[in-house]
């Protein structure tokens, strides 16, 4: 059996924004998926109530046949009642659209609510998925390369938005500079193990180089 990831135990506090770094194929995506299913499916015995989680996988999980509005709205399907969901499927509410418009505006995608996701570019799709995660208004974000298809300033903007909108986050990033700039803590994986776990303030880009050798 090929083991991608060795036993890993992590504790993330409120207010911490973790960047998960390491070579591709090192197990970042696996770790995030496992964390997501552990946090959503199991009820821990501990005293802490489960935080609400927004998950943003690399494959995005958009329903490309639907417009942007419906894809972003999905984040709240569990929150709203069946009738309201049905109503918004058929006839989107102005209030919901306005809420989304403000998020999409910050992501540099204004007036795109009616566009079918299938017709968007890769970078635009990624921002729709980001908007969906933001619209969920969860406490914790788990995201896997949320800005891999975006250019420098846009990527910066997206990470800024994400870290300021969630109380805690784990974001897998391949860009070391972005990781150091936006995270409060950096976790590095190497050969399927935790190889680094430091506050980002104490790190410089060169300190992470060994993870990529």
């Amino acid at each position: 059996m090929h083991v991608v990831l060795q036993a890993v135990s992590l504790r993330i506090e409120r207010g911490e924004h973790v960047a998960l770094v390491g070579k591709s194929g090192v197990g970042k995506s696996t770790l995030l998926k496992l964390a997501f299913s552990a946090l959503t499916r199991s009820v821990t015995a501990g005293a802490d109530p489960m935080p609400s989680i927004a998950f943003l996988p690399q494959e995005l999980g958009l329903v490309t046949q639907l417009p942007v509005f419906h894809n972003v709205y999905m984040a709240r399907l569990a929150r709203y009642g069946r009738l309201q969901n049905l109503r918004n499927f058929v006839w989107p509410q102005a209030a919901r659209a306005a809420e989304m418009e403000s998020i999409l505006g910050q992501l540099d995608m204004p007036s795109s609510l009616r566009t079918a996701v299938a017709s968007l570019s890769g970078g635009q799709k990624q921002r729709v998925a980001v908007a969906r995660a933001l619209y969920q208004e969860a406490e914790v974000l788990l995201a896997d390369e949320p800005c891999s298809a975006l250019d420098g300033p846009q990527a910066d903007n997206v990470l800024q938005l994400l870290t300021s909108s969630f109380t805690a986050s784990i974001v897998a990033l391949h860009d070391v500079d972005l990781a150091l700039k936006h995270a409060t803590r950096v976790i590095g994986l190497r050969d399927g193990r935790l190889a680094l776990d430091e506050p980002s303030a104490t790190l410089r880009a060169a300190d992470l180089g060994f993870l990529y050798e």
Binding site: F55, G61, A78
Partner: protein, 509 residues
């Protein structure tokens, strides 16, 4: 290279016996052959060929004399199909939401195992000739089919969008946002295909008295008005062949909403009949007379003659006829696909082939069997030919289309070389998959053809209803459904065992 030990090299087994698909095929062939010896296959009318010539002559002189009746009949046929299929697809979609529950799957298997015509015969007993009878007769079995196929289609969609979201409690909302948009194209083409089936179902409901095509076809046929019969059938083919032009998505709501107004008045429902049907008519005779369940001997006395005189011969004949028809369908398919395959003959010849296949698959088996029965007299022969023609044309069309997707190396042989060495080996597995998929459908039809006087289960059901013994009729319908479910399971096992994975959802345009 020379072979020093001549005679030591063993050639492969003859007839491809080394292959499991061939062995299974030969078993089916053998069973059909034995069935053929046991079954009753003959032509009993005094002048079958003269009558057939007169019938064929009708197609040369189609008559629109009774255009008024014809138009009404066609309008109602289309109307019942629209309402029945629309209700069936909505109900099927809702049932599909709970398809992970074994009880729902069993329920759907049960309602689709009972033929439209049997449902109609049941509803006729208490709703009478009310439009509701025809609508429910289509909607109920179709709901069972839709639920199953929609569930299969949904299983093919990407589950990720649902996995990233917080759990959604409502199954309906989940399907609406996450599944339906992904599956929509497939759902749409399958539903359109079932609508075409719905036209055929609706047409044959006329044979039990509803005001659709079958009703007028039967009366024209018995009077020998073959020119009118020809006109009815030709317009029916025209309606189906032109579906793609008049069945526009934008017009669909209009059709569905307008259809209920074209079903005719029928007769009013007598609600006391409805109550009586459930509380008295279908209760087994011994229980009706106040005997309690605690004395099973009386119940056995009731059941035993039914089993001996009706269930056993009915099952026997149904199975025999099904197996003959299945193999006849297979043989016809293997010939029919050549007619539309681009590897044989040019565009002109293929369009003739297409015409033949469209006519074959658009004519309901029941109508074909009815006409052949009138021409040849009662035996299993008309049923076998009708089932083989209809189903052979359907599978032949699908296999022909698959053959057109094959890219062959340049320099292949022609004629039988091409057929046996290049095409048949490549097409044999999908062919078997489609055939086994239709096995259960052929059995359903075989049972129903009994209503026409062939001694399959439908014959005994129809006689029980005529003798106002609804308890017996219902028992026989249950037996038929069980046989159908058994064949469905056997077919699934066979397809899994032979790893025939083609998902045969025919999206016939």
């Amino acid at each position: 290279m020379s072979d020093p030990e001549r005679g030591q090299v063993k050639p492969p087994l003859p007839l491809g016996l080394g292959s499991a698909t061939v062995r299974v095929s030969l078993i089916f062939l053998g069973v059909a052959f034995v069935s053929l010896l046991l079954g009753d296959i003959e032509i009993t009318t005094s002048d079958p060929w003269g009558e057939m010539l007169r019938f064929a002559g009708g197609f040369l002189t189609p008559s629109l004399d009774s255009i008024d009746t014809l138009a009404t009949a066609l309008l109602r046929t289309v109307g019942f199909a629209f309402v029945g299929v629309a209700l069936g697809s909505i109900a099927g979609y809702l049932l599909m939401l709970f398809f992970d529950k074994a009880l729902v799957r069993a329920f759907c298997a049960f309602i689709r195992a009972i033929h439209e015509l049997f449902w109609a015969l049941i509803f006729l007993q208490f709703f009478g000739l009310h439009p509701l009878t025809g609508v429910l007769a289509i909607a109920i079995p179709y709901a069972g089919v839709f639920a199953k196929v929609y569930a299969e289609i949904n299983d093919e969609t990407d589950p990720l969008p649902g996995l990233v979201l917080p759990p959604i409690r409502s199954r309906f909302i989940q399907a609406l946002f996450l599944k339906l948009p992904q599956a929509f194209a497939h759902v749409k083409s399958y539903t359109a295909y079932r609508l075409e089936c719905g036209f055929r179902s609706s047409a044959i409901l006329g044979f039990v008295g509803l005001p659709t095509l079958g009703f007028y076809l039967e009366s024209a046929f018995v009077q020998g008005h073959y020119s009118e019969v020809a006109a009815m059938l030709m317009i029916f083919y025209l309606i189906i062949a032109t579906m793609r032009w008049w069945l526009r998505p934008r017009l669909l709501p209009l059709y569905v909403l307008a259809s209920p107004f074209f079903l005719g008045e029928g007769l009013p429902i007598v609600w006391s009949n409805v109550g009586r049907f459930f509380t008295e008519d279908i209760v087994p005779a011994p229980l009706k007379n106040g005997v309690s369940w605690s004395s099973p001997s009386e119940l056995w006395e009731w059941f035993s003659p039914i089993a001996q005189e009706q269930i056993v011969p009915g099952l026997w004949n149904t199975v025999i006829l099904t197996q003959i028809a299945l193999v006849a369908t297979a043989i016809l398919t293997l010939i029919a696909f050549v007619l539309v395959s681009k590897h044989f003959g040019g565009a002109k010849r293929r369009s003739v082939g297409h015409l033949f296949l469209v006519v074959g698959r658009s004519t309901p088996e029941y109508i074909l069997a009815y006409m052949l029965l009138q021409l040849w007299g009662p035996s299993m022969l008309p049923a076998v030919v009708a089932l083989a023609l209809h189903n052979g044309c359907i599978i032949g069309h699908l296999i022909g289309r698959q053959s057109n997707e094959l890219v062959l190396r340049p320099g292949t042989g022609t004629g039988t070389d091409l057929y046996f060495f290049e095409l048949l080996p490549r097409l044999y597995r999908p062919f078997l998959a489609f055939l086994f998929y239709r096995w259960e459908i052929i059995m359903r039809e075989t049972a129903i053809l009994g209503v026409l006087g062939i001694y399959t289960l439908g014959f005994y059901i129809d006689s029980a209803i005529e003798n106002i013994r609804f308890d017996v009729a219902l028992l026989l319908i249950l037996v038929t459904a069980m046989l159908n479910i058994a064949i469905d399971m056997l077919s699934r096992k066979l397809r899994a065992g032979l790893r025939l994975t083609t998902m045969p959802t025919p999206d016939v345009p």
